[in-house]
């Protein structure tokens, strides 16, 4: 019994990381129709920057702040000066973000080296706690809570604020939104930055449990894409549900079929594509 609880919690906590990533991907796509493949790099660079900050200052909180803001800035710059030139041209945008994925991957290798590293857990959450008959690391519980809080915050933003209403208007019909006087261009840059922010947050928070290593960008990007395929591109609910599903599947897959772990993700992805190609909560 405790085996299942532990693994379920592992899957859920990992799923929260995936949710952070997928939420960013979904938000960016929903508004701008950009498939941001650089998202994996935002995750990894966020993790690396966080690592350097923790090494330099010992403060996890500072690491989170610096990494997320730095990556948000990079994201904003990329959108404003490069991606906007190809508004609504999906292939050039995908190619550009792809190119940067490679550039950042090599850059990270150059700056931080090729060894696998881990972010140290913050002192406050470096212990384990006795709950429900098991001993479980508080850090992972912290991740679950953070994920839910971020999810709630994003939901409130999207549904409950004026800015969120402008976002939803922009998603529904960009031209009319512009016609109504909504500064859609600024919204684009801000949302892109927000997406990058979330990815970097995932990177720093994930650092202690997933590790920080070259190739994590591609791996995490793939999982993010699978989440979005299953959950539906452009949907926050889909990102959460998909994230949890993929997190659980990935975890149980690695436990039971270590050699074919990706296969356990493949099957549900294929199933969704066969039944409902736009994902569970996706718009057709």
């Amino acid at each position: 019994m405790s085996f299942w609880v532990v693994h379920a919690l592992n899957g859920i906590s990992f799923g929260m990381l995936l949710f952070l990533l997928a939420a960013g991907l979904s938000l960016i796509y929903g508004l701008m129709k950009i498939l941001n493949l650089t998202h994996g790099s935002y995750y990894l660079l966020g993790a690396y920057i966080g690592l350097s900050v923790v090494r330099g200052t010992g403060s996890f909180v500072l690491a989170v702040a610096v990494a997320t803001l730095a990556i948000a800035l990079i994201g904003a710059l990329m959108e404003r000066f490069l991606l906007r030139r190809f508004h609504l041209q999906e292939l050039p945008q995908a190619l550009l973000t792809f190119g940067f994925l490679f550039i950042f991957a090599d850059l990270a290798l150059l700056i931080w080296g090729g060894n696998s590293q881990t972010l140290p857990k913050p002192e406050a959450f470096a212990h384990s706690v006795h709950i429900a008959g098991i001993v479980y690391p508080t850090y992972r519980l912290f991740l679950i809570v953070v994920g839910l809080l971020v999810g709630a915050a994003l939901w409130w933003f999207q549904e409950g604020t004026r800015a969120g209403a402008m976002l939803r208007a922009g998603v529904d019909d960009e031209e009319i939104a512009r016609g109504l006087g909504i500064n859609v261009s600024l919204l684009f840059t801000l949302v892109f930055a927000l997406g990058a922010f979330l990815a970097a947050l995932g990177g720093v928070l994930g650092g202690p449990i997933v590790g920080v290593y070259p190739g994590a960008d591609f791996e995490v990007l793939l999982l993010g894409l699978v989440v979005v395929i299953i959950g539906g591109l452009g949907s926050l609910k889909g990102a959460l549900v998909g994230g949890l599903l993929v997190g659980l599947l990935d975890n149980f897959g690695r436990t039971f079929f270590p050699e074919l772990a990706l296969f356990t993700i493949f099957v549900p992805m294929v199933a969704i594509l066969a039944i409902r190609p736009t994902g569970i909560f996706g718009r057709a």
Partner: protein
């Protein structure tokens, strides 16, 4: 013509490089059938390349299969993968299609990389012997193998050229321009795209078979998104929708990679930079630039 005389002009190192260029030219042309002629932008074309390569490698190494059996099974594997992936991906368009083709290929990569007992994992499968076709010249030598590759690629290219100039090919171009119009004209758009997708996969599989024989080795790199990105860049750099453009693009990128890797280890970054530059400045590729140049010249 020039290609036939090449072995007399250059050393075996460059012949090996030329073989590689030919193989990637075929790979790129197969993607052009999808991207350039059908308007299907796939970020997972390496899936077919790798599946056939692994099939050939596994059959030859583990089952001692003959070259003919290995090659046909490899092609079959690529075709089946194309048929399956096509069914899954072609119900979507645009970014969804990009995303799904990428994810499908990456999952294959994950399987290739993770299934150590079958595929050797990240170490791959070494020591795959060249095909023994019973010819007086052993394909294990560079020059005969070069001619082998040249022959096959030339034949495949000729077939591809026939396909794109056929009514089928023109229907594809129509679909690329406007699916709704073609649909209104009574074409079964999905079926055309599907056939193109599977054909593209088959030719990519052929390239994969040749590549595994060239290297005598196969690894998850064959299926990785970087490989898909490489071939996509070749098509775009050369000029999508021209068949000859992607072939040129393949040559350029392979030469570029060769030069870059002698000076630095940062070839992934270099590739990324080329990607960005091509997208920003030459979206129609080299052939597009040349066409633009001639157009301007004849207008003035």
């Amino acid at each position: 013509m020039l290609m036939l005389l090449l072995p007399y002009a250059v050393s075996s190192y460059y012949l090996g490089l030329a073989s590689k260029i030919l193989i990637f030219a075929l790979f790129a042309m197969s993607l052009d059938l999808l991207l350039g002629y059908s308007g299907l932008a796939s970020l997972g074309h390496a899936a077919f390349f790798g599946v056939s390569a692994y099939t050939v490698g596994l059959l030859t190494l583990r089952a001692g299969a003959s070259a003919w059996l290995a090659l046909t099974t490899g092609l079959l594997a690529a075709g089946v993968t194309g048929a399956l992936f096509g069914l899954l991906a072609l119900r979507t368009r645009g970014s969804y299609f990009l995303m799904i083709t990428l994810a499908l290929a990456q999952v294959l990569w994950g399987i290739a990389s993770g299934w150590r007992s079958m595929t050797g994992g990240d170490d791959g499968l070494p020591n795959i012997p060249r095909p023994d076709l019973g010819l007086p010249w052993s394909l294990a030598d560079t020059t005969p193998f070069y001619y082998f590759v040249l022959l096959i690629v030339a034949a495949a290219a000729a077939i591809l050229a026939r396909i794109v100039r056929s009514p089928f090919g023109y229907a594809l171009r129509g679909i690329r321009e406007s699916e709704s119009r073609m649909s209104a004209l009574g074409y079964n758009v999905w079926r055309y795209k599907y056939v193109a997708f599977v054909l593209g996969g088959l030719f990519a599989g052929l390239a994969g078979c040749l590549y595994v024989y060239l290297n005598r080795f196969v690894s998850p790199d064959y299926v990785h998104v970087v490989r898909s990105a490489e071939v996509l860049l070749m098509v775009i750099l050369g000029g999508a929708g021209t068949l000859v453009g992607p072939a040129i693009g393949a040559g350029l990128i392979i030469l570029f990679e060769n030069v870059v890797s002698t000076y630095t280890e940062r070839w992934l970054m270099a590739l990324g930079v080329v990607y960005v530059l091509v997208t920003l400045f030459a979206p129609r590729g080299i052939v597009g630039l040349v066409q633009e140049y001639w157009r301007r010249k004849s207008a003035s």
